[in-house]
């Protein structure tokens, strides 16, 4: 197994073009586990650790361009105003040590249905910036997840960054695991209010073969909020609306029974999280809070 250590992004793209079987590695929190347990033997590892620009982020108009190798710890500490949903999701990843190493780019590359970032990215609105020697393209995150642990990258492409829309309203992320920390998701839910466009976006994780937006639930909620003029009045969301939204969110799931939980429980838990996150964000919106991000803590 070769270990390639490019020092520039151009070298990295060239290496990936030359050796499409090379697996990119940044924090190594997924890749090294698979290698250590002999579940995977790539022909080469492509270490992105020397490429400084991957570990930076910048504002670009209405979005944050988040370098692929920015670790979760920095998302939590530096981006909780701009990307509150993603910061909350980052908070639930592994242990402090894992959060110091693991990256949003890695989460996208692995494309596990249980990846913690995905519902937050889908709810916020994001594009994955994929690059190769052929050029750069932006993939809407909805189109990025193509199957269980599969994504839309071409064999010669690397993730340069993810462009996430800066929050214009409250966002929430909630995840069920059978432990109070350091747990893989049984299922997860992300929700973002977008007062500028009078829309709500919401997404599930670990309750279908891929992370996905709950389209029917979003459409129902958008029209229910609009019809009642709730964006303007900032009045309470009627319980019947929250309940219906939760039912539609659960209906969007196609979960499986596995060692972490039953399909029936996942569907049920998604409905509870959908209702709670909607009420939390709406309560913040009513109170005039722009966002409701995570606070740094242990």
């Amino acid at each position: 197994m070769d270990f390639l250590r490019p020092t520039t992004w151009e070298e990295a793209l060239a290496a990936k073009a030359q050796l499409p079987g090379a697996v990119p590695i940044a924090g190594g929190t997924d890749v090294m586990v698979e290698i250590n347990f002999a579940q995977r033997r790539p022909e080469a590892l492509l270490d992105l650790g020397r490429i400084a620009e991957l570990t930076t982020w910048e504002r670009d108009g209405e979005t944050v361009r988040l370098g692929a190798a920015v670790p979760y710890t920095r998302v939590m500490s530096e981006l909780r105003r701009e990307l509150p949903g993603l910061a909350l999701a980052a908070h639930t990843v592994g242990s402090p040590q894992i959060r110091n190493r693991g990256t949003v780019g890695g989460n996208l590359g692995a494309a596990s249905p249980a990846g913690d970032c995905h519902p937050a990215l889908l709810a916020a609105g994001a594009e994955v910036e994929a690059a190769s020697v052929r050029g750069t393209r932006r993939i809407p995150v909805e189109e990025f997840y193509t199957g269980v642990k599969r994504n839309a990258l071409a064999p010669d492409e690397l993730i340069r960054a993810v462009r996430v829309r800066t929050a214009t309203g409250p966002q929430q992320f909630s995840k069920v695991g059978t432990r109070n920390a350091m747990v893989i998701a049984v299922c997860a839910f992300g929700l973002a209010l977008h007062p500028d466009t009078r829309t709500v976006r919401a997404a599930i994780g670990s309750a279908a073969p891929t992370p996905l937006r709950v389209g029917a639930a979003e459409e129902f909620l958008d029209s229910a909020l609009a019809e009642a003029g709730l964006w303007e009045s900032r009045a309470v969301v009627p319980p019947s609306v929250a309940r219906r939204f939760a039912e539609l969110a659960a209906a969007a799931c196609s979960p499986i029974d596995d060692v972490r939980g039953t399909a029936a429980y996942r569907r049920h838990a998604v409905s509870v999280m959908a209702r709670r996150t909607l009420l939390w964000t709406w309560e913040s919106y009513r109170g005039g809070d722009r966002t409701e991000g995570g606070t740094p803590c242990a």
Binding site: H91, V176, T178, N180, G261, Y265
Partner: protein, 803 residues
């Protein structure tokens, strides 16, 4: 020491010398000699062992839970560059090919048949661990799958495959089916008559899932071939001499040619009582004539040791309207998996402790362990008593509810005390403060309600989500959360039972080093994290009046210390160290009388004490410094210490003086349950325990807190999940969850010290009792919060949400 160690071995255990400025004796919280090394990462664990030119061993394991082995082809593996040996059952050198703690039913390498998922089939030694692993994957094994025995009905069916045909063990004649390892009934009193007197009768069926010890240091060790044809084995284990007794015959060596040294042990909890890589590493080392190291990773570790027996328990309790238990009948079925391991003893414990710490005059009890194709189960902290405690404590709440009584008061009314008679007929002849322990946990202050509401908000305004069910996963800001409170109390035996000849050996030396009298303690006790090395130094200081004590590495150059299990080491090996110290003290005083007796009448006093490095009279007059008495003499004593003997349980009635000592703990659990999502946050787990005498109070509290958390794990998350064909589904720390610090509640501990007159210093084994009552207390609290019956642990979100 090092002169006898094979050249080139590094990172092996070294002497632990502990000096103390305070008296540092029994009853003081002296600090652990290995503590700083462990928290700074300097401590050498068995996985850190190294030897120049060593090879790496790897085990090929069965992918099937029950299959015939039709053929094994090692030629491709053997041809791999870097591979030095590939061994199968055909390479076993001796006629003895099986091992086992009590019943020798476990093949060193599978022969003709595999009986559980992960059973060792072949071994590889190579010059690199990766090479060994890849070569193992090249071994071609042809299997024919066989029908699987996975529960009681499939085990004792008429056409059930017999897992161990031709059994010759001494339990075989007493069981109704060869797939039953052991059966222990206990009958006492007239259950039929007692049932007629009962005003209420309550039945229940309970299940306990398969818990793993989940020690953090995986199985590992280093075998070094010796010039005499023997082998030196450095290994993390719980009982060196028991290992050696099982290893040597399979290697075809006399025991004295298998020399064992304890290496750094990263936890045990019963999971190192059985052999894992010991025989395998020795076989490879003897074959290749090179040192061989083996280290399991976490995945392999889940297959490399036995687990806690899963159990099904059916109980019936009767009580009179005034809250007195009339009778109890129960049937406990323990799944022992493919090999016997400690199953017979677990059956004995489950049966004899199945009533709990209560007085019940009429009982009809049966416990059995099965052979199945599930993973082998054996020793784990609590050992049969954990499963029973979950069931009888659930029943106690149920009976109390039926009677409309307070559950604590109902327990207190039936609690045993000193002088009570066990269902086995054994009289409890030491303090048994069961009602008092319950009173103490009940009377502790309650954590405030809505304890997540906090100025120090995390996640949401005014809320600390770390204090809520779901924690940092941010599932609730208080919605759906209901508090519950539950109580439980348990009884655990201490030491080996049922007539086993339990003893420990200690060697103690006293001499002058650098002008100071110092003591050296040598035992074969496995320090697995329990703090035995600290306690031995404390005992030596108290008995010999020295400040500096050196603890030599545990090895087989001294006699057996028994297992670090059954809460027995401070009692038995601690007792041996004390006796040896007393004998050294007598020699020292005799020496002193000879040297100085003529010049000072104080030497004739029979009550002389050794204190502060001096011999003094009971009145405190200094007679001589220890160093002056010793001069250049070295006093050394080796002796064995035995607790009082026990006797086997009668095979039909279960009567017998079966246990050395009993240990009691009670818990009060306070939980918050998110009733919509089925998530649980244990807020507080208060414990009261009688330890007889806290030899090291800080270590005692640590043991109680650790046991409490392990019980919490069983209550709400820890389970090895086995599928319908007996394959393990979650052999990883991703899916086998153990409590993190954010799952660990406040654990206020109230330690009682009511001396047991039969035990050294009056002490009572402390390590296991808290593991028993923790689980049922947590589940009782969840029942109180939800109103659900909850008859199985671990409780899962599905159970709480009806999904």
């Amino acid at each position: 020491m090092d002169t006898t160690r094979p050249a080139g071995v590094t990172r092996t255990p070294t002497d632990l010398t502990q000096a103390s400025r305070s008296p540092g004796g029994v009853g003081e919280s002296t600090s652990r000699p290995d503590g700083i090394l462990k928290v700074t990462g300097e401590f050498a664990y068995s996985s850190d062992l190294w030897h120049e030119s060593m090879l790496w061993g790897h085990t090929l394991r069965s992918p099937h839970s029950h299959a015939e082995i039709l053929s094994i082809d090692v030629s491709t593996a053997l041809a791999e560059p870097g591979v030095l040996a590939v061994l199968t059952h055909e390479d076993l050198p001796a006629r003895v090919r099986n091992y086992g703690l009590e019943i020798q039913d476990t093949p060193a390498l599978a022969t003709g048949r595999v009986r559980h998922h992960g059973e060792p089939v072949a071994l590889v030694a190579a010059d690199h661990p990766e090479t060994a692993r890849r070569a193992a994957a090249l071994i071609r094994v042809e299997y024919r799958e066989l029908p699987v025995v996975h529960d009681e009905s499939s085990a004792i069916a008429d056409d059930a495959p017999v897992l161990h045909p031709g059994r010759a063990d001494h339990y075989a004649p007493h069981v109704a089916h060869p797939n039953i390892v052991h059966r222990q009934p206990i009958v006492r009193g007239d259950v039929t008559a007692a049932r007629a007197r009962a005003d209420v009768i309550v039945t229940g069926e309970y299940e306990v899932g398969m818990q793993d010890q989940a020690f953090l240091g995986p199985e590992s060790g280093l075998a070094v071939p010796a010039e005499d044809g023997g082998v030196d084995l450095y290994v993390a284990t719980q009982w060196l001499h028991s290992d050696r007794r099982q290893i040597a015959p399979v290697l075809g060596l006399p025991e004295e040619k298998v020399r064992m040294t304890l290496s750094g042990v990263g936890g045990a909890f019963g999971g190192r009582e059985d052999l894992s890589m010991q025989i395998h590493a020795c076989l490879l080392a003897l074959r290749t004539r090179r040192p061989v190291k083996m280290v399991y990773n976490r995945h392999e570790s889940f297959f490399g040791h036995v687990h806690r027996h899963p159990a099904t328990l059916r109980y019936e309790h009767g009580a009179t309207a005034d809250g007195r238990l009339t009778h109890l009948s129960c049937r406990i079925v323990l799944d022992g998996g493919a090999y016997a391991s400690a199953s017979p003893a677990v059956v004995g414990n489950a049966a004899s402790l199945s009533v709990g710490p209560y007085v019940v005059d009429a009982v009809d009890i049966e416990a059995v362990a099965l052979y199945t194709n599930n993973p082998p189960c054996g020793a784990m902290r609590g050992f049969g008593a954990v499963q029973a405690c979950f069931a009888y404590e659930a029943q106690m709440d149920k009976v109390a509810a039926e009677l409309g009584m307070d559950p604590v008061e109902f327990r207190q009314r039936n609690a045993m005390s000193q002088g009570a008679v066990m269902p086995t007929g054994q009289v409890v002849d030491a303090p048994a403060p069961v009602a008092e322990l319950l009173r103490r946990v009940r009377d502790m202050p309650m954590p405030p309600p809505r304890q997540w509401e906090s100025a120090d908000s995390v996640g949401a305004a005014g809320v600390d989500i770390r204090a809520l069910p779901g924690g940092l996963s941010n599932t609730s800001h208080g919605e759906g959360v209901v508090r519950g409170v539950g109580y439980a109390v348990g009884i655990k035996n201490v030491g080996f039972s049922e007539g086993f000849d339990d003893y420990s050996t200690a060697r103690v030396r006293m001499e002058v080093v650098g002008g100071e009298a110092v003591a050296t303690v040598h035992t074969a006790m496995a320090e697995v994290g329990q703090g035995g090395v600290t306690v031995h130094a404390q005992i030596a200081r108290t008995e010999l009046g020295v400040a500096r004590v050196t603890i030599l590495p545990a090895d087989t150059r001294v006699g057996s210390a028994g297992s670090t299990s059954a809460s027995r080491q401070t009692y038995v090996t601690g007792g041996a160290v004390r006796r040896a110290c007393e004998a050294v003290r007598e020699q020292l005083l005799a020496l002193g009388r000879g040297r100085f007796g003529a010049s000072h009448p104080g030497w004739a006093d029979p009550g002389l004490v050794l204190e502060g490095g001096k011999v003094t009279t009971p009145a405190g007059e200094v007679l001589a410094p220890l160093a002056d008495v010793l001069e250049d003499e070295s006093l050394e004593v080796e002796l064995e210490f035995r607790p009082r003997p026990t006797e086997p349980f009668d095979v039909r009635t279960g009567q017998g003086f079966g246990h050395v000592q009993y240990s009691f703990a009670a818990h009060r659990a306070v939980v918050e349950v998110d009733t919509e999502l089925g998530l649980v946050k244990v807020v507080e787990l208060a414990c009261a325990q009688d330890v007889g005498k806290a030899i090291n109070p800080q270590s005692v509290v640590g043991q109680i807190q650790g046991g409490t958390v392990q019980g919490l794990g069983l209550a709400v998350m820890e389970e090895i999940v086995v599928d319908p064909v007996s394959k393990v589904r979650n052999p990883s720390f991703t899916d086998y969850l153990i409590p993190t610090i954010l799952d660990t509640p406040a654990i206020p501990v109230d330690v009682l010290e009511l001396a047991d007159p039969h035990a050294p210093y009056g002490l009572r084994g402390a390590g296991e009792a808290p593991t028993l009552s923790s689980t049922p207390a947590v589940v009782a609290a969840i029942r109180a919060a939800t109103g659900l019956a909850l008859r199985r642990v671990p409780v899962r979100p599905e159970h709480l949400t009806g999904t």
